[in-house]
């Protein structure tokens, strides 16, 4: 459409001028003798040429061979709707991509994209395509064709929706409206999502991968099937992640990842050369999955591990604790909303006595009670690296609170200690708060002034 418009536009104008030239040539004489006529009214030839280049940019993209000032003019006039095959690798001008982004999306915050509009455009473009990709229906070339265009610019992929394939059975389509019937009916039908393998391995600079296998805004069309992360999907994903050597951050949240899938993923992530952060929160990981992750902790460069809102019980916690006792890279561990219990808490406490790298640990909502508090008070007395502990929503009790207070008496590094809804008693909480203030003040005066860390 644009091509047609671009090519057709200059022609009539030429024709018009020619007709005018031929029709009243005597008028030209008048123009020359006209004292009011000035050269400024006539567009310059360069101007016309640039206009022509802009109009025919799709067929004949000339940019590199222009002078810088002309390049500037052309870039300013290029329409944002040009096909990406033309612009992707030719135009590197940020202003052009800024125009593209702001025209397409209302909210644009390039701070999350390395301050690059182009990167933002391509990442969001790719994400939008992946989000609306329907397996077996959408042409996979739609993605594959985009790869050569965007592979140099995509650093992060954040896909929070994967659509399941459309149901083959028309009868089941009708079931969309009914909530209950589809649960059983679709159980056997394998509904695999889009395989990221081909895409992810073709992006050489991919560093972050945030995935959620689920559907957003389904409203009353809810089906369990929409949120099914099949074993095949997991296999595909594991293979893709394994081939992605530059990956630093991998997040797979709210995707119903169970123990087997965790094991599968962990197996592919073992000895990964660059993975630093792993987030498997809001999944269904149980003890065996936790054991697998514990194994991963010591066979990778992981620094941040988030396993919040899973189903880890004491054996899983013990496995993680054992890994933590030996590990020397992990700095942050989140086990919020799990089922550690006191045995798991004690195991963690013992691990923290040996560990010297962990800075932040979140054990909120884990059914901990006094015995864990006793061990943690020892940890507070000994450990000098921990700066943040979260024990909120546990049943620690007033005695446990006193124990913790005693343990904290000798500690100078802890700045965050969340004991809300932990039933430790107001007095202990207040005193602990006082000590933390003192520690925080000392930390601020120290050479490394750190803003108060966000509570997890």
């Amino acid at each position: 459409m644009q091509q047609a418009a671009g090519s057709s536009r200059p022609v009539p104008s030429l024709r018009r001028s020619q007709s005018r030239l031929t029709a009243d040539s005597y008028c030209i004489h008048r123009i020359i003798e006209d004292p009011e006529w000035s050269l400024a009214a006539v567009p310059q030839l360069t101007e016309l040429c640039l206009q022509h280049i802009v109009h025919n940019f799709t067929q004949n993209p000339i940019l590199d061979r222009l002078l810088p000032e002309h390049q500037r003019k052309v870039l300013d006039r290029l329409p944002t709707g040009l096909p990406l095959t033309v612009t992707a690798n030719l135009v590197s001008d940020e202003d052009y991509w800024k125009r593209c982004c702001t025209e397409r999306w209302q909210v644009c915050d390039i701070s999350g994209y390395g301050d690059s509009w182009k990167r933002m455009f391509f990442e969001r473009h790719l994400e939008s395509i992946l989000k609306s990709f329907v397996p077996n229906t959408t042409d996979p070339n739609q993605v594959l064709e985009l790869i050569p265009l965007c592979k140099d610019y995509v650093r992060k992929l954040e896909v929070d929706q994967f659509l399941p394939p459309l149901k083959v059975d028309p009868e089941e389509e009708a079931d969309d409206t009914s909530d209950s019937g589809s649960d059983l009916g679709l159980g056997e039908v394998p509904v695999h999502h889009y395989d990221l393998g081909a895409l992810v391995t073709a992006l050489p600079y991919l560093e972050e991968l945030h995935l959620t296998y689920g559907v957003k805004d389904c409203g009353m069309n809810f089906e369990w099937n929409l949120f099914k992360f099949t074993y095949q999907d997991c296999c595909n994903l594991a293979g893709a992640v394994k081939k992605c050597h530059k990956l630093k951050v991998f997040k797979l949240t709210r995707s119903n990842v169970d123990d087997n899938k965790t094991k599968l993923l962990v197996r592919s992530l073992l000895d990964h050369p660059s993975l630093v952060e792993l987030n498997l929160s809001h999944n269904l990981i149980g003890d065996t999955g936790a054991q697998a992750v514990g194994k991963l902790i010591n066979r990778s460069k992981l620094e941040t591990l988030d396993l919040c809102n899973n189903k880890i019980h004491r054996t899983g916690a013990q496995a993680l604790a054992q890994a933590l006792a030996q590990n020397c890279t992990l700095t942050s561990l989140n086990l919020r909303l799990n089922y550690l219990g006191d045995e798991g808490g004690e195991a963690m406490g013992r691990a923290l006595l040996a560990n010297t790298t962990l800075k932040s640990i979140h054990l909120g909502s884990n059914m901990l009670s006094e015995p864990s508090a006793v061990l943690l008070s020892q940890v507070l007395a000994q450990n000098t690296t921990l700066t943040s502990i979260n024990l909120s929503c546990n049943h620690i009790g007033p005695d446990g609170g006193k124990q913790l207070l005693e343990g904290l008496a000798g500690n100078k590094t802890l700045t965050e200690f969340d004991l809300r809804l932990a039933e430790v008693g107001q007095e202990s909480e207040f005193l602990i708060g006082q000590m933390l203030w003192a520690n925080r003040h000392a930390a601020q005066l120290a050479p490394q002034p750190q803003p108060p860390a966000e509570p997890l």
Binding site: T253, H282, S365, M367, C393, R420, P451, P452, E454, P455
Partner: protein
């Protein structure tokens, strides 16, 4: 719902009122820098305090916001616990039910075996009825359970909806709190900033006030001191004025006396000055005159010197010219000498040739001479005889006088006269020649007095050769002769004028000549050979060479005067008489 609550939210309105507003966290750092310069200031304290309070505010606000999350977590755990309990109960119930129903079922199933044994239809019917009833019971129980579970599910759905509502309420609350916190934090930050600014301003004002006070004090102190100094100065001025007056009077007196004395001195000195001036003028005139004289002398001297110099230069140039000329001339003379030597040799050869020819011509001349002589003599004699005949006729016929044949010696002479002079000695000839040469001593002088006779000019160069030739003619009889020319040449060379004129070429000629004579003196090879040749023709040559022609005139005169004067007179008289006649 968990992660959504994680967003960064800060504040709760409950905390806003009791908390004092303090400065903005970001503003603290620059402030702190300022404080470091002047420590322990009120603003410093203020800032520190506000920093702490703000941190606290932030912390508490954050706590307030995260409280929601924690509460949700807590609820969730509680729900989970309840759920777990309920689940356990449900499972237990189900298990119990399953056990019970299995037991019942087995009971029913076991009865089917009895049914096979049954033969009586009534019993069988009864049994079947019983079984049917029991099955219905079992089914009813199962259906009841299903209904209960469905009821539970419905309740759960409701609970889910409620939970959703609750969560959305929570989210709203969270948003509210977040916004509130942001608002209040902004407010407090602004407020605190204002406060701190005020504190700084106040401090500044105080500082200014104190400084101004100090300044004013200092100015006052300065002014009083200045006044004191002024007074002291006035006093001193008065004192000095008095002293000055005193001194002036004294000085005036001194000055007057001094003036008189000095005036006298001046007069004396003026007189002296006049005198010295007069002498000075005199001296000046003298000196000027002297100077003039000296200047003139000097000028003259310079002129003379210049002239001399010019003269020297000229002479130098002339000397150089002369030298070059001398060189040129020497060269020229050398060349000339060489050419002359060559000429000399050539001429010697020519001379010999000429001599040879001359001898030949002399011989032929002598013959011709005799022939001419004889012819002339014959003619003369014919004429004479005619005259004599005429005389005889006159005498005999006219006068009738007897005529006598005159007898003269020459009448009989036929041929040239044969009287020879005595042979002149070679020595004599040479002596004559040389005497002639010495008489004309400087024949070749450029400014010679007169032109030398050709013979005398040729004398010096020719004479040696003639001499040699004659010497050769004479043979070895006249050995001492060749030494003679050498001596003469030597004498010639010794005369300074001549030698000077002749220069080197002369000397070389002399030497050559001497050499030549020496060879003659020595062996005489050529002389001897030629001498023998000449012996044969000596007589003829002698006749040719030594012929004396002095008598020839007389002879011819005598021939002409064969008729004597008297006869001629006679004839004249006769002629006259005859005419008269």
């Amino acid at each position: 719902m968990g992660p959504n609550l994680n967003s960064n939210v800060r504040f709760h309105p409950n905390f806003s009122s009791p908390l004092p507003r303090q400065a903005l966290g970001e503003d603290e750092e620059p402030k702190e820098e300022v404080e470091e310069e002047e420590e322990e200031r009120r603003s410093h304290k203020e800032v520190e305090e506000s920093q702490q309070r703000l941190a606290k505010l932030l912390f508490e606000g954050t706590q307030m916001v995260t409280n929601i999350q924690v509460a949700a977590d807590s609820r969730e755990t509680q729900r989970r616990a309840e759920e777990a309990e309920l689940k356990q109960q449900r499972v237990k119930k189900l298990e119990d039910e399953a056990k019970f129903s299995a037991y019942e079922f087995e009971k029913i199933a076991s009865k089917w075996a009895l049914a096979e044994d049954m033969t009586v239809p009534q019993e069988l019917w009864q049994l079947l009825n019983q079984q049917q009833q029991q099955c219905a019971l079992l089914l009813e129980e199962k259906n009841k359970l299903i209904g209960e579970l469905q009821q539970e599910l419905k309740n759960k759905d409701e609970q889910y909806v409620q939970a959703m509502k609750k969560q959305s309420d929570d989210i709203h609350l969270l948003l509210e709190r977040m916004e509130e916190q942001i608002r209040i934090m902004l407010k407090t930050y602004r407020h605190k900033l204002h406060h701190i600014e005020k504190a700084f301003e106040f401090e500044r004002r105080e500082l200014l006030d104190s400084n101004r006070k100090k300044w004013e004090e200092a100015i006052q102190a300065h002014n009083t001191k200045e006044l004191e100094y002024l007074h002291a100065r006035m006093r001193k001025v008065e004192e000095f004025e008095k002293q000055l007056n005193q001194l002036r009077v004294q000085d005036e007196e001194e000055y007057n006396s001094m003036k008189i004395q000095l005036e006298n001195d001046v007069q004396n000195l003026e007189r002296q000055l006049q005198q010295t001036k007069a002498t000075y003028l005199l001296n000046q005139e003298k000196l000027e005159y002297n100077l003039l004289v000296l200047k003139k002398q000097d000028e003259e001297n310079t002129i003379i010197r210049a002239r001399q110099k010019r003269k020297i230069n000229r002479l130098h140039s002339s000397l150089n010219n002369l030298r070059t000329k001398l060189d040129k001339q020497e060269k020229q003379f050398r060349e000339e000498n060489q050419s002359l030597a060559a000429d000399c040799e050539r001429i010697t050869g020519q001379c010999k040739e000429v001599q040879k020819r001359m001898r030949h011509f002399a011989a032929s001349d002598a013959e011709k001479f005799t022939e001419v002589w004889l012819m002339n003599e014959e003619e003369a004699k014919w004429l004479m005889r005619k005259a004599l005949d005429a005389d005889r006729i006159i005498h005999t016929q006219q006068l009738g006088l007897p005529w006598e044949q005159p007898r003269h010696w020459f009448l009989n002479n036929i041929g040239p006269l044969r009287r020879y002079k005595a042979k002149r000695m070679a020595t004599k000839l040479a002596a004559e020649v040389l005497a002639g040469g010495t008489e004309s001593q400087c024949p070749w002088h450029p400014c010679g007095t007169g032109k030398p006779s050709p013979s005398s000019v040729r004398a010096p160069s020719v004479s040696p050769f003639c001499l040699s030739c004659q010497g050769l003619d004479l043979g070895s009889q006249h050995l001492p002769v060749p030494s003679e020319p050498a001596r003469i040449l030597g004498s010639l060379g010794s005369s300074p004028g001549l030698r000077e004129l002749l220069g080197f070429p002369w000397c070389s000629v002399q030497l050559k000549a001497t050499g030549l004579f020496v060879t003659h003196e020595g062996q005489h090879p050529w002389g001897l050979r030629s001498g023998s040749l000449r012996e044969k023709t000596r007589s003829a040559k002698e006749a040719l060479q030594v012929r004396d022609s002095s008598k020839d005139g007389e002879y011819w005169e005598a021939l002409a005067h064969i008729i004597p004067e008297t006869t001629l007179k006679l004839w004249d008289a006769l002629v006259a008489a005859l005419e008269e006649y």
